[in-house]
Every structure is written in C-alpha cells, then in structure tokens.
C-alpha cells in the first residue's frame, strides 16, 4: 500500500501548491480587478455586457441578486427542458435518437440546472451530441458559475463594512465564466484529448474484433464536456459509466488531471475567502477543517477497499496484494486505476459535490461505501461544490461560533460581526433544508410501492443503501449513485424506442434537486444581506478566535455532530450493517 499512499500524498501536495495562486486569481476576478487574461478577455467581457444589456456598476442588494439568479435559472430550466423534449429535430445526432420520456427529462433538467448531474439516463444510449453539448454541458458551465457567484456575494456580505450591496449577479456570472471556467476548460479539454479522450462529431465506429465479433464504439465531443464536468464539480458523464470509461478517462495521467480539476476551485476558494475578508488565517482555518475530514475519508475508503469483500472471501478468492497484482476489491474498478486511485477518486468526488465516478459505488465494500455516505451526510462541506461547498461550510462556521458563544456565555461574533437572531435563523434553515429533503424523500421512497420499483438489489440493506444514497445524492446536488437504483427503463437499448421513466423516482428526485439547491441559495443570499450592513466591532480579549486550531476542532466537531445526529439511524440500516457483517443476503 506504500505506493498507493505515496500517490495520494503527492496528489494532495499538488492540490495544496495550487491553492494560493488560483485563490489570488479568483479574488481578483470577484473584486473586478485586472488579471493577466484581461487584455484578451476584457473586450469580450465588455461586449457581453453590451449584448446582454448588463450595467455592471449597478450594485444589487440581496433581494435583487436573488431575483436575477432565480429568473436566470428558471429561464434556463425551460430552455434545457425544451432542448431535451425536441431532441429529434436537432443537428449533431448521428444515431438518430428521439426524445426520452418526459418525466426523465424533468429529472435530468432539474439535475443539470442544480449542478448535480444525477443521471437516470445513459448518455450514449439516449442523448444526441447536440443535447450533450448545447444542453447539458452549457449547464455544467452555468450552474457552476451560479454557485461561485453566490459564494462571492456571501463573502462580500461578510467582508463589507457598510451599505446593502452584495454585488451584481450578471457581472459575477459573466466574469466567472469568462475568466475562470472557460479558459481552464479549454486547456483541460486539450490535455485530456492528448491522453485519448475522444473529441469528434462522427457516428459510432464499428470494429471487427480479433475473435470475430463486432463491437460498436460510441463517439462524440467528450473532452470538451469532460473538462467542465470536473472543473465545475458537475459530474455528469458523457457515457453511462462516467469516468471509468476509457474514452472519458484513459490513463493514470488523465485520472490525475480529472481529480485535480475537481479540487482546484473548491480548495482555492478558501484562499480567496481569506484574502477578501482580509485575514488569510481565516481561510486556512476553514481549509484545515475541510482537509481533516477529507483525509479521514480517503484513509478509510482506501483501507477498506484494499481489504476485499465478504462475498469475494467466501468464494475463496485471496485479496492480498502481490507482485503484479493490486489485490483488494477490484470488482467494479479498472485495472489502470487500481485500488488507490479508485479510492482517492471516490473520496474526491463525494467530498466535493461532483459525483463523477471512476469505479462502481454499488460494488464498494460496506465500510468503503460508508465514506461517500458520510461525505454526503456532512452536506457537502468538505471542499464541496464550486462555491456551494464553501458557502455551506461558512454556515457551519457561523453555527460553530454561535454554539461556542453559548458555551462560554458571550455574544457570538464572526469576523467582528454580531450574529443575531435573524442570522442564526437563516443559518439553521440553510443547514437543515438539505438533510430534511434527503430524509423525507428517501423515507417516502422506501415506504411506498412506487418508490421500491426503482430498487435493483431488492429488500435488503443493499437495497436500502441504493434508495438512501439516491436521495442523499440528489439532495446534496452530488450526482453519484449506487447505480442499481433506476428511474428509467430502456428495454431496447440504445435509443429511446419503447423506453419509459419510473415517474415517482423521476419527479420526486426533480423536486428534491431543485428544493435543496435553491432554498439554501436564497437563505445564503439573505444571510449575506443581513451581514452586509453590520458594523464591525474590533476584536478584544474576549472575542472567540476563528482562525486557530481550537476553532478548526470545534468546526469539525459541529459538522460531524450535525451529520451524525441527522443520518446515523438511517446509515445503520444500510452501509453500517454491511460493514459489520460477513453474511451474505
């Protein structure tokens, strides 16, 4: 395992090394300052403002900011739904796919608008290149930019000393796209293409194998979509099996790049935060709390997967590593990634709200599978989605300050701003809405006949894990899956002929997706509005510090406490039972 740990350590070192430069760059973008791309991008930026009739200097208070965001997302929801419903008449459709069922489109549209990329559909068997490029990949950019914009607004709310303005939504959106997401995506797409990720518009290639069979290889514009899929913590694969498919992730290097793309923005934003609030230590404190939880997750999943599964041991397989073999639970994993890189990817994609996978989650060991559950149960605050991870973590930070303040009997303050009743109400709502949605929906799906139609593993702990994870993933806008759980039946794959959706799963999922994305966003923006005008009181001897190890410890504790209190009973019935028993069912 030493080789595996070394890989993980070196990867982590590269991630940490990029935090400062990228963090500074993003802080300049959020603050409307010049960056090295300004000579090239500046004219495009100004042209975009003119075309879209945006006046970037018009500051918005939180209500105006939220209204613009919601109107924009709603319009894009309609546009994407229409694209999916009219697939048959669009160009770039070499396989001649018609539209899938409407309830599936409802779920998919809601999934991509919310930066989730939960996928009941299989990309290569249901969607045209046009739907993937002009429908889904556009949302990969846009929904990511929306998440980052909300964070930028919250940071301004925390940092500002007066006024009501938390930024201009349209300006944030456009600058984030033009200066951050698009340039990095172009670069990353070409790096991935150099490794063998495909990028073409031709139809499927038919090959004649050495053993005399024919094999049809789906094609498409994959590299361009792959880059933003990971950079924007979206996660929706061009292919059904996502980043395990060699055309999406062909080599050890491409896998390294993909994991780096996932963590690049969420980790660096902590530095951006510290810079914008005027204390780098604040940013590092938040980062440290995230890093502690992340490292614990990686360690558990790697150790568990290296051990193998009860089913494999009972079948007489020896899962130890030896010269030339990785050993471990290689069921649902690729040889080129082995145990270490599959485990690391699993932790990276679930700690962030990405949900791309390079191995099959349903085939994880019981204990290894508990890590994705825990990462989601902590409401995606371990780095989390672009923007959304940090704004959710800041809710927990304020909660920690509040609870810490109660314990020592002082008025809670965060960065010199008093936390009053209104703020703590908004924080509580923001923290609780996601777990509430997850538990209510998975309870409903487990208890009803309509809900259990989606099961693959049947009425046992594995089946319960499927259900719980499905709604946990959708509520946290992650998008990874215990993939046996289905909302779409395709008897004549590929193509949509005769295919139908399981409406209960599709519609319930769609509602959960939208609710648990936009409700917290509104609460966060309202919090930004509540904080923005507050006077900053100077730190005194009695002020609880939020930039030292004690606070990191407290913050980690609060995250674990809230997650455990909320989800422990549910987790007992699924992954915990499975990790404690060697029995089969």
């Amino acid at each position: 395992m030493a080789q595996g740990w070394l890989q993980i350590a070196v990867f982590a070192a590269v991630v940490v090394a990029l935090i400062k430069p990228v963090g500074i760059y993003m802080a300049r973008v959020f603050s409307d300052q010049r960056v090295f791309l300004s000579p090239v991008v500046g004219p495009i930026e100004r042209l975009t403002y003119r075309v879209l009739r945006v006046r970037p200097d018009d500051g918005q208070d939180w209500k105006a900011y939220a209204r613009s965001l919601i109107v924009f997302s709603l319009l894009f929801w309609v546009a994407l739904y229409l694209i999916l419903r009219t697939q048959g008449i669009h160009p770039f459709n070499p396989e001649g796919f018609s539209s899938g069922p409407w309830d599936l489109s409802f779920n998919t549209t809601s999934s991509f608008i919310t930066n989730t990329n939960w996928q009941y559909y299989g990309g290569e068997t249901t969607l045209s290149y046009f739907s993937q490029m002009a429908g889904l990949a556009v949302q990969n950019f846009v929904s990511a930019a929306v998440g980052i914009a909300v964070l930028a607004a919250l940071i301004r709310g925390i940092a500002a000393r007066s006024g009501r303005v938390i930024g201009n939504f349209w300006q944030d959106l456009i600058r984030i796209l033009l200066y951050i997401l698009v340039p990095i995506s172009v670069l990353a797409a070409l790096v991935l293409a150099s490794q063998g990720v495909i990028q073409n518009l031709g139809g499927a290639a038919v090959v004649h194998t050495l053993s005399g069979a024919t094999q049809t290889l789906s094609q498409g514009p994959v590299a361009s979509q792959e880059a933003i899929k990971l950079l924007g913590t979206n996660g929706g694969g061009f292919f059904n099996v996502n980043s395990s498919f060699p055309f999406e992730n062909p080599t050890g290097f491409s896998n390294f790049v993909e994991m780096l793309l996932i963590l690049l923005i969420p980790t660096s934003l902590t530095y951006t935060y510290g810079r914008m609030v005027g204390s780098q230590r604040q940013g590092w404190a938040i980062f440290s709390a995230m890093a502690v939880l992340f490292i614990a997750g990686v360690a558990v999943v790697y150790a568990a997967e290296q051990h193998g599964t009860p089913a494999q041991h009972l079948a007489g397989l020896h899962t130890h590593a030896f010269d030339g073999s990785t050993g471990g639970n290689l069921e649902g994993k690729e040889q080129r990634f082995g145990i270490a890189d599959s485990s690391l990817f699993t932790a990276v994609t679930t700690a962030t709200s990405t949900g791309a996978v390079n191995s099959a989650f349903e085939s994880l060991t019981g204990l290894g599978g508990a890590v994705p559950f825990a990462n989601l149960g902590f409401s995606e605050v371990i780095f989390g989605g672009v923007g959304s991870g940090l704004y959710s973590m800041l809710l927990y930070a304020i909660l920690a300050v509040f609870i810490g303040g109660l314990m020592v009997g002082r008025t809670p303050e965060y960065l010199g701003k008093k936390i009053g009743a209104r703020e703590i109400k908004l924080v509580s709502l923001g923290v609780l809405v996601t777990p509430l949605m997850a538990l209510l929906s998975s309870g409903l799906a487990s208890a009803t006949r309509a809900g259990t139609r989606s099961l693959y593993a049947g009425f046992n702990p594995q089946g319960f894990s499927e259900t719980l994870y499905a709604y946990l993933s959708q509520a946290n806008n992650n998008g990874s899956a215990w993939a046996g759980y289905t909302g779409f039946i395709q008897p004549n794959a590929p193509g949509n002929v005769g295919a139908y959706g399981i409406s209960f799963a599709d519609l319930l999922g769609g509602v959960v997706l939208i609710g648990s994305r936009f409700l917290p966003i509104v609460f966060v923006l309202a919090l930004a509005g509540a904080l923005v005008g507050k006077k900053v009181s100077p730190a005194g001897l009695g002020t609880m510090r939020t930039d030292n190890p004690t606070f990191v410890f407290l913050l980690v504790g609060i995250v674990i406490l809230v997650g455990a209190l909320t989800f422990f009973p549910a987790l007992l019935l699924g992954p915990i039972v499975q990790s404690l028993t060697t029995r089969l069912f």
Partner: protein, 195 residues
C-alpha cells in the same frame, strides 16, 4: 423583473451558442488537428481493417489469445452500465466462485503450480467500465504459460511481449501498470501467427 427577464433571455441564447456550440466545436477543431488518431478513439487497423481501439477492451476466445477481465456488459462499447454487484451479495460470491473455477480450469493445465491464492483479483472480478483494456501483470504472466504452449513459443519470448505491451504508471507514480490485452494479442499474431 422585466429587466431580469430580458437580460436572462438574452443570456440563455448567447450562452447556449457560445458555451454549447462554439466552445465544443473549437475544441473539436483543435483536437482533430493536434491529436488526430486519439480524438477519434485511438482505433487500431490491421491490413486496412479496423480491429478495435487500443483504449477499449474486447472479449477474446480460444486458447491462443490472452483473455480480458470479466465484463458485466459483454464488452459493449455503445451501451455501458455497471455490474452493481454488492459486497455482501450472494450473486457476488457466485460470480467470483464461477470466474475462479473457470480461470483455474483454463490456466492450470499449462501452469501446474497455479493455485487459488495466486489468482490475481482482476482475473475474476468485473471491471467498472465493462471494457477494461488491461489485465494485471500477474494475470498476464500466468496466461503466458498457456500462450507459449499453444503457440509453440518459448515462455521467455511471450513474457517479453507481455512486458513490451505493459502500460506503466504515469511518471512511475500514478495509476497502476496494466497489460494492454488487444495490443498484446496483436503483437502475438504478428510474431507467431496462428496456424
């Protein structure tokens, strides 16, 4: 509100065109010029016939070829899905048991010392993609005995071919080494054509 609607509508149109059409087409253009074979799927041709992609595994039958890993999808390249075999499932035990038995039945006659505890895990478990192009080095070294016997080659020569068709780690560090089964079998056919 009206201003938001107008800007929003314009944004939907402009962004769909810029991010959904221009961006992928530009990347396609550059990738097609810079990485022509790779952008189209790293297809492998033999005598003008496309026999596969070096990145996509395929199923090999018969005793004269190295065999790929078990697949939930029968090596489908256009309808992919996970096997979704759970860690505590009876199905998982049966799958591994059967794969183990058939692997031993196939390889043991040629590698007498082969026993259960030497069977590498990749040989009896399903991959994630269903089209894993690689097998482990240990798996290939075991199968080399059979290939050498069936094709009438010295074992050392087959083992050299295995080494020559192994994709190593990136920078010697990232990922796991894997033997590319299609390329290895193509090299075999070239070096020692089947009679």
């Amino acid at each position: 509100m009206r201003k938001d609607l107008i800007t929003g509508l314009l944004a939907v149109i402009v962004m769909t065109l810029a991010l959904g059409v221009v961006y992928p087409l530009v990347v396609t253009g550059i990738a097609q010029v810079a990485f022509p074979g790779k952008a189209d799927g790293s297809l492998v041709k033999v005598d003008g016939q496309t026999v596969g992609s070096r990145l996509i595994g395929q199923e090999f039958n018969g005793k004269a070829y190295f065999h790929s890993r078990p697949s939930a999808t029968e090596y489908s390249g256009n309808a992919t899905f996970f096997g979704n075999v759970g860690p505590n499932s009876v199905e998982g035990r049966e799958e591994v048991r059967e794969n183990l038995a058939s692997y031993l039945a196939r390889e043991k006659p040629f590698d007498r010392s082969l026993s259960k505890d030497r069977v590498p895990v990749d040989a009896v478990t399903q991959s994630a993609s269903g089209v894993d192009p690689h097998i482990s080095e240990a798996n290939a070294r075991i199968q080399a005995h059979r290939i050498a016997a069936v094709r009438g080659l010295p074992l050392a020569q087959v083992e050299d071919l295995v080494v020559a068709n192994t994709d190593g780690r990136f920078l010697g560090l990232f990922g796991e080494p894997g033997v590319n089964v299609l390329e290895l079998n193509l090299a075999l056919d070239k070096e020692a054509p089947q009679r």
